[in-house]
Symmetry: C2
Subunit: 305 residues, 2 copies
């Protein structure tokens, strides 16, 4: 890998070198490196571009890294990754995509990740998106995450679009069985003329299932963000979505959450707030010696932490 | 007026007799009684069914009653009422519609109310909807309220659908000028197979305009409710919507609020909660000697007060 690829890899996955455990590193549309372990098997997908990951029942405290790096401009790819996670697992999956654009050609990565989680398992899924380079080509990423959480299992999603992604449509759909839990923490920042859309559709199908979706976003300059969530309570369940957004400059933000109780034992809550940083917060930090820009930056980084 | 008409009139407007001040009482598609005053003039609309109400600038502490009663089954009417409210007014407008269905014929009242409010005025608008009678005919009411609130003016809407309305689509659109304020308190109860949809579209166009929309609803039995609101912050403004709903029985409720900040000085908040009555609340009241049904009834009536 060259310097740009290494930089992207570090930004999206925190990796400086080949990781321990199972991994699949994809660069410029091809597999750069792949490693299966005793419990985590990675094989190419039979149809379409992508991989199939099979995690054996009882796999505990193991991790899987699947970063994607596009350093060559003009690549457009759709990749399907399917994750089959057995019963009684406890695993961490670190995905991420970094695009570098040095020319006028746009690059686009559409990653469709499907998770089939068995019973009594815990899955932590971390996904970072990052763009760099001063080419005029657009850096486009459209991640789609499809999740089926089995009985008594827990899925935690920690997703972040750090910076440099010009256009993104993020879709997450989840179906929860009995006693299943979904926790999502999404962090988004857009600047310049960037556009970001984030959509969630969560079906709380099983008794005592629960979902907690938190989205925090900052829209700067002339960027645009749309947050949309649909939470369907189809059984005795609890659901909560929270969408907090900060506007800086001329940015525009829309938030459209939908909660539907199809069962009288569904308890659903939504909260959303859009606004700019309170003037007094800025002033307070400025009295401590920061410039206005530094104060704003500090508040934003705390908000997105 | 006959006994049924008098009962409906009382249910929707609290009136036992002809009110003081300006009024227009409409029964079974015709004007039953009308009275203009020195400051409030009521004239028939030139086009379409309905009336035009002109409230002179400076009119203070006056009220206007415009109840509608349908006691005869099988009536279907669309009525347009236009309100022109001058500068520096402080008035209360009491509208309402009662439908009695004694046969298999459905009755429907679609009332389109347009308010054009001048500067520095205060308007309180009270609207109650009620249905009665044991006929199989549907009692249908589709109220539409269009509001333009002038500079520095205040509009308060207090709307309630008490009971007995089989199908309703409620639409409210409002445009606010500088320093204008809109406050809405909506209370809805549905039972049996009833359907209720409530939609708000509020444009906060003027600097320092503000809107506070609160919807409280109870859906019983097999009824269905949809709450939809769109709050557009187009200037330095503040907006808040809150939608709390209680489910009883097999009822279904959807809440789809949308907040959009088109200006970085717009501060918008939405909150929504759907759930059933907490079991401990029922138990607590039962220990005071109430039956389960009485306890439930008491909690609901407190929630909708």
């Amino acid at each position: 890998m060259d310097t740009i690829q290494k930089e992207l890899l570090q930004a999206v996955s925190g990796l400086h070198e080949i990781p321990v455990g199972a991994y699949n590193i994809r660069t410029n549309g091809k597999t750069e490196a792949r490693n299966s372990t005793e419990h985590i098997e990675i094989v190419p997908r039979e149809q379409g571009d992508g991989i199939v990951i099979k995690i054996k029942p009882g796999t505990k405290n193991e991790s899987l890294h699947i970063p994607v790096v596009l350093s060559q401009a003009g690549i457009k790819e759709t990749v399907y990754n399917d994750f089959y996670i057995g019963d009684d697992c406890d695993v961490t999956i670190i995905a991420g995509c970094g695009i570098h654009c040095g020319t006028d050609d746009s690059s686009q990565h559409d990653g469709i990740h499907s998770f089939f989680i068995g019973k009594n398992s815990r899955v932590k899924y971390v996904e970072k998106h990052y763009g760099s380079g001063d080419g005029k080509g657009q850096r486009i990423m459209n991640p789609e995450t499809i999740v089926e959480i089995g009985e008594n299992s827990y899925m935690e999603m920690d997703t972040a679009q750090i910076k440099g992604v010009d256009s993104t449509i993020r879709k997450t759909t989840a179906k929860l069985a009995e006693h299943a839990t979904l926790k999502v923490m999404e962090r988004l920042m857009t600047h310049g003329e960037q556009r970001a859309e984030s959509r969630f559709i969560v079906d709380l199908n099983g008794e005592d299932s629960g979902a907690n979706i938190i989205s925090r976003s900052v829209a700067k300059d002339d960027s645009y963000q749309l947050f949309q969530s649909v939470l369907n309570g189809n059984a005795k369940c609890s659901g909560h979505t929270e969408c907090d957004a900060i506007i800086v400059g001329n940015a525009k933000i829309s938030s459209i959450p939908e909660i539907t109780a199809n069962n009288s034992d569904a308890a659903l809550i939504h909260e959303a707030a859009i606004g700019k940083i309170a003037g007094e917060q800025i002033v307070k930090l400025m009295t401590l010696g920061l410039t206005e820009e530094e104060a704003e930056e500090q508040i934003i980084s705390g908000f997105l932490k």
